[in-house]
């Protein structure tokens, strides 16, 4: 209980901090977005039109404090304002349209990466000093050391442009009508393959090596030897005794990884013209779209916080030591 309250407290406090940072950051920007907007009109606007537009965009008409209050109020009521770059589309709509793609692609490949990586980690630690144990960590690390977008660009060029194996852009074949049809779903998978595989390759080694390390530690624990002596079956030994304990430290990383799904999507989506939130954020930053930057950043922060909270709670379910309030650390 105390643990849960503790985590909830942290959640609320950091949420507030994130929200506030989010409010302050864009206001520290030099150069007003309105100027940027109006430069587009190449100086044909009357001062009146300019004023009217500023008002319409909600720029600079009230005190900072008032803006903060309005901002908080807007957040709570899901009124995140209108996008500058796609005026007058509500930011909410833009996010609604893009977030499923990001969650689908990046979320799925993250979960997949965790799953595959962890399983491989368990496997190679079990077959310690085997061929895979000697090669897999190194090979996967090579990918982790490469700049992600660089690999992605090479993949697009080789597998998309040269070999024509996979589409080079978009979340699905735009000529299809979205719907629950076989061809649409196939198209989605086809389009997600390259970005997904690059994401997977880029993150796999962390999970493999992390899990392997944890397993090595756990396998050296006395309770594993004891269980082995007891005659517990191999699968139970591997999963209930070794992996079950070894996976606990992975959870924290998992929370952070899940939280980073959205920011991890930025480079992917840019390279693959994927219709997700990362892409939106990049364009928003490039065109100084305050409301959009704020909302996507906030969304990202909330995603991370929620993921953390869930993992914390999960942790307390998986580790009985925490449930009773012992050994709670930071």
């Amino acid at each position: 209980m105390r643990y849960i309250m503790n985590r909830l407290g942290f959640f609320v406090l950091s949420l507030w901090a994130a929200v506030t940072i989010n409010f302050i950051l864009p206001r520290m920007m030099p150069g007003s977005p309105a100027d940027a907007m109006f430069a587009k009109f190449q100086g044909q606007l009357t001062p009146a039109a300019l004023e009217a537009m500023k008002k319409a965009y909600g720029i600079g008409q009230s005190s900072l404090w008032q803006q903060y209050i309005d901002y908080l109020h807007g957040l709570l009521t899901f009124d995140w304002g209108l996008s500058f770059m796609q005026y007058p589309t509500p930011v909410k709509d833009m996010i609604q349209g893009s977030i499923p793609w990001t969650l689908g692609l990046v979320g799925f490949s993250t979960v997949l990466s965790v799953f595959i990586g962890t399983t491989l980690g368990v496997y190679i630690s079990w077959k310690r000093r085997g061929f895979l144990d000697n090669t897999l960590p190194i090979v996967s690390m090579i990918f982790q050391a490469m700049p992600y977008f660089w690999v992605a660009l090479l993949f697009v060029f080789i597998f998309g442009f040269k070999l024509n194996w996979f589409p080079m852009a978009h979340g699905y074949d735009p000529s299809l009508t979205p719907g629950f049809t076989g061809s649409y779903i196939t198209s989605i998978i086809n389009h997600a393959f390259l970005p997904g595989i690059t994401l997977l390759l880029g993150s796999l080694s962390g999970w493999i090596v992390g899990m392997r390390n944890n397993m090595m530690y756990t396998l050296g624990e006395d309770y594993v030897t004891f269980a082995e002596a007891k005659g517990v079956s191999t699968s139970r030994l591997m999963f209930s005794y070794a992996a079950r304990n070894a996976i606990l430290p992975q959870l924290t990383s998992f929370a952070i990884a899940i939280g980073n799904v959205v920011s991890g999507s930025i480079l992917t989506e840019q390279v693959f013209s994927y219709p997700g939130i990362g892409n939106q954020l990049t364009s928003a930053v490039q065109s100084q779209d305050f409301p959009m930057i704020q909302a996507s950043f906030l969304l990202i922060a909330v995603a991370v916080l929620v993921a953390n909270l869930i993992v914390d709670l999960l942790y307390s379910r998986l580790d009985p030591r925490i449930r009773t309030g012992r050994g709670v650390e930071g």
């Binding site: 942290f10 406090l13 950091s14 901090a17 994130a18 940072i21 950051l25 864009p26 520290m28 920007m29 030099p30 150069g31 960590p137 190194i138 690390m141 090579i142 982790q144 050391a145 490469m146 700049p147 992600y148 977008f149 660089w150 690999v151 660009l153 090479l154 060029f157 442009f161 390390n213 944890n214 090595m216 530690y217 396998l219 050296g220 624990e221 006395d222 430290p249 952070i256 939280g259 980073n260 959205v262 920011s263 991890g264 930025i266 480079l267 840019q270 954020l281 990049t282 930053v285 490039q286 100084q288 950043f297 990202i300 922060a301 995603a303 991370v304 916080l305 050994g327 650390e329 930071g330």
Partner: protein, 313 residues
């Protein structure tokens, strides 16, 4: 009667001298094939970075050659669309990228150390506040924050970016340092140091930090890799001064000039390989450090004696 004591037993030495070995980096790195390879690759790039002005045939920014050359004897990696020598750019970029990477790596490690060690050693309210800040930074999405801050800060030279990367990326280290400090702080030798009249600051600097040398070194490697990748990502997205000389900027230009499409792989591939190799060398060296210092990776051996608290991570 005083017992006479002869030289110490070798077996005991074997068990605990691991921490100490971290202080002999060279020996450490050559202790296994992976880390030796890492160390050699790293040394080559370090050499390139240090002696860039002597190695590079031309100035990296001088737009004085024929544009869009493919590799020739004069221009090993060809030239850019503005007639700059790509090989020279590559060499100088190694310098900037490594400086920025290590600068950010070391800076973020220092910040992490300050937060982690003080929080872990002081405990109580100090710990609560510092840990909160740490956790907040841990939780805030790195790249997004970087991009947003970078976009707000404007003057994004690689160095500014490195600074931002360090300022946003120290939290993981702080967390590791904190938990390590907490286990160390519970050890009696810290109490003993207190008893001998050492100040808190003295204890943190001379007793705790030296005991975390290998973790610190590992953290620097790890943070450096992260910084190099983040910096190149930022540069690639165009959130960096495009006249700077770094591998990320080279990739930015290569991609904005459709280097791959026009078949100029010699423009696009080397900077990526450079980053990948430096990254790989860091990973490999870190591997060695990890293997020596992380008790989890040692071959399982029963602990001597009782009641040794283990660090929970």
């Amino acid at each position: 009667m005083k017992a006479e004591i002869t030289t110490s037993s070798q077996i005991k030495v074997k068990q605990t001298n691991n921490i100490l070995r971290a202080f002999k980096p060279l020996k450490l790195f050559f202790s296994n094939g992976k880390s030796a390879a890492g160390f050699i690759i790293f040394s080559i790039f370090l050499f390139i970075a240090v002696f860039a002005p002597w190695i590079a045939p031309y100035s990296p920014s001088a737009a004085v050659f024929d544009p869009n050359l493919s590799p020739t004897a004069d221009h090993w990696f060809g030239t850019t669309n503005t007639g700059q020598d790509l090989y020279s750019q590559f060499i100088y970029s190694a310098r900037n990228t490594m400086v920025v990477g290590f600068g950010a790596g070391i800076l973020s490690t220092i910040i992490g150390l300050i937060f982690g060690v003080v929080a872990g050693y002081r405990g109580g309210l100090t710990d609560a506040i510092l840990s909160f800040i740490t956790n907040l930074f841990l939780v805030l999405p790195g790249l997004a924050l970087l991009i947003v801050i970078g976009a707000y800060l404007k003057a994004s030279t690689p160095f500014v970016n490195g600074l931002i990367i360090a300022l946003t990326g120290w939290a993981w280290g702080a967390r590791v340092f904190r938990s390590q400090t907490m286990t160390l702080a519970g050890r009696d030798f810290i109490s003993a140091a207190k008893m001998s009249g050492k100040s808190s600051l003295g204890i943190m600097i001379t007793e705790i930090c030296p005991n975390m040398m290998s973790i610190i070194a590992g953290n620097i490697m790890f943070a450096t890799l992260g910084a190099i990748l983040a910096e190149s990502g930022l540069a690639f997205l165009g959130f960096e001064d495009i006249n700077s000389t770094s591998w990320g900027t080279m990739l930015y230009w290569a991609s904005s000039n459709a280097a791959l499409l026009r078949g100029a792989w010699w423009w696009f591939v080397p900077p990526g390989i450079g980053i990948a190799l430096v990254g790989l060398s860091l990973v490999l060296m870190n591997f060695a450090i990890d293997q020596i210092t992380n008790p989890r990776l040692k071959s399982p051996r029963r602990r001597k004696n009782h009641g040794n608290k283990r660090a929970r991570t």
